[in-house]
Symmetry: C2
Subunit: 337 residues, 2 copies
């Protein structure tokens, strides 16, 4: 049987990362780690979607500056977001003179972009690729749940879509953290229909990808210093821990964490925690990447999760298919710089 | 400067293709070329979206049968469609036990999927990948233009979204047609805001990709036996011909054609011709691929085009960013079978 897990032969390195976080995210526990934080989530733009595309464009520009890279030195940008037809990403890309590949895995789009970019570099045909994503509380809520103006009460199972944008640059020459292996997920749908309970919808996909990854590489969870899922939230990540235990996989704290659980302080607003494409991307860029660099972690398994529901599928009372992709990052022994 | 064009070193071959076309497409000039045609565009399903996901699932199943391939022999499925959050593709994939990568380039999603799949195979980590797409007149119209129930009059510049699904399998061992090279497009937006004039919005992107491709490989249009764009339609393809001429690129008939122009008989309903993700995919699978096999053509440059607009961006009166990707197919000298 063919494996869904790929171990890379080339050194695929993260040259650098960039992150822009919204006001609520800035006040959360990771506030100090973001490159830039915003006081406002509209900044005078005419719509939240346009604002989201602006910060998506900005985070790529910021990364280009940070890495002193010109657009014509990049092979590709690969990215996506939660908006219909990748509104934020497409509109950001029209301002950049860089070939573009649209990737979609809902809240796991950043992870999927990193996977596609890694395989492009492994093919020998790319040297420098930027992966990017964004999400916005107000662009997401009205798509998947209720228009904000309705002021619908949020059930305790709900999560809070993160406002922000994140980008990273992969290359073959510069960097201390490499993409060691990836596992590409399958679409899993066990019948959850509640669009305010994303954690429950995504746990089966996360478990499926995690166990495929570990089994393909004959590893235990403890092979990693940190296993971090995308945005299962508090109840979702507890559910994953319970389900994993039944497969003899111990996801104890602090080995296991979830981006959705650590981006916000626990409060009644954010419910089970953060979600959205920028949730796992911001946590990875701002926190996990830095902790890999400062040697807190050597090996991290990053498993962004995505719910493939749409406004239309919700209104048509369909259940929620979900997907999770896994990426193993590793600090290399000697700096590649 | 880094090139956006990639020439493959490996033999990346089309093992086979499959196509399912809707009733209007079946009655068009290519009717006899489709594998399966439908008399009805709902077939008792509760919604057009569910119907679209069913035919998307069916076309993959049909291709698996045709090529006698089990799901576990495939590395990946790569695909996308025009629905919010890739509704049709995601819901098709939940019924298949195959790792899935979501690709989005609007009506060029099939082409983008073939590009990603080719690079995955070139990397040495994949041997068999299915690329798929679908679109449906009724799922698209209500997103990008008006709900059908409004019975809005269609302006003469409009195109008719194709109903259908298409899939192809790439592999390294079997087949007579190879993916020789690809050019990944940039997002181009010259300010067209009319969502009923897709041709005008996409011509700049098509020309940009075409001229980048030819210039990177130092080729003339006449290097190919056929250059075929995705869905510029009658006026759009004429506009491309005029703009290309200004760059000393002769896109004369019969060298140049457009999938949107040949899928329907000219009638007032279909306006400028076909559009939608299934338009270029069905024409490629049903017609171009067969004409490569029967030696009518040896080399074909396929340039699917996509308008990256959304219902939201239209309502917000934004202009329409567009993208085009190019794929050069070639009949190999000796059959690889």
């Amino acid at each position: 049987m063919i494996s869904q897990t790929i171990v890379f032969k080339k050194r695929i390195l993260i040259a650098d990362v960039a992150s822009i976080a919204g006001p609520k995210e800035a006040q959360g526990p990771l506030g100090k780690y973001f490159d830039k934080t915003l006081d406002d989530d509209l900044l005078g733009q005419k719509s939240y979607e346009i604002f989201e595309s602006k910060i998506h464009r900005c985070v790529i520009g910021y990364l280009l500056n940070k890495t002193k890279t010109r657009c014509d030195e990049l092979n590709f940008c690969i990215g996506g977001d939660l908006n219909n037809e990748l509104y934020a990403t497409s509109f950001a890309m029209r301002e950049l003179d860089i070939p573009f590949i649209g990737a979609f895995a809902a809240c796991a789009s950043y992870g999927l972009s990193i996977i596609i970019a890694s395989l492009f570099i492994e093919s020998g045909h790319s040297q420098k690729i930027i992966c990017s994503t964004s999400s916005h509380f107000s662009t997401a809520e009205r798509q998947f749940r209720f228009p904000l103006e309705l002021s619908s009460q949020r059930p305790p199972s709900s999560q809070w879509t993160v406002t922000g944008a994140a980008a990273l640059m992969l290359n073959t020459l510069k960097g201390k953290i490499r993409v060691e292996s990836v596992t590409i997920g399958k679409v899993v749908d066990l019948g959850i229909k509640d669009s305010t309970n994303m954690g429950a919808a995504m746990v089966p996909a996360a478990l499926c990808t995690l166990s495929a990854h570990l089994s393909a590489l004959n590893r235990n969870p403890s092979y990693y210093d940190l296993i971090i899922t995308g945005d299962l939230g508090v109840a979702g990540s507890e559910l994953l821990r319970i389900c994993a235990k039944k497969q003899q996989l111990n996801l104890n704290i602090p080995l296991y964490s979830d981006c959705g659980c650590i981006i916000f302080d626990s409060d009644k607003d954010s419910g089970q925690g953060g979600s959205g494409a920028a949730c796992s991307a911001l946590v990875f860029n701002a926190y996990v990447f830095k902790k890999l660099l400062d040697k807190t972690y050597k090996r991290v398994l990053f498993i962004p999760t995505g719910s493939l529901l749409s406004k239309t599928s919700c209104l048509q009372r369909q259940s929620i298919p979900a997907i999770a992709h896994a990426i193993a990052f590793e600090r290399i022994q000697r700096g590649g710089e």
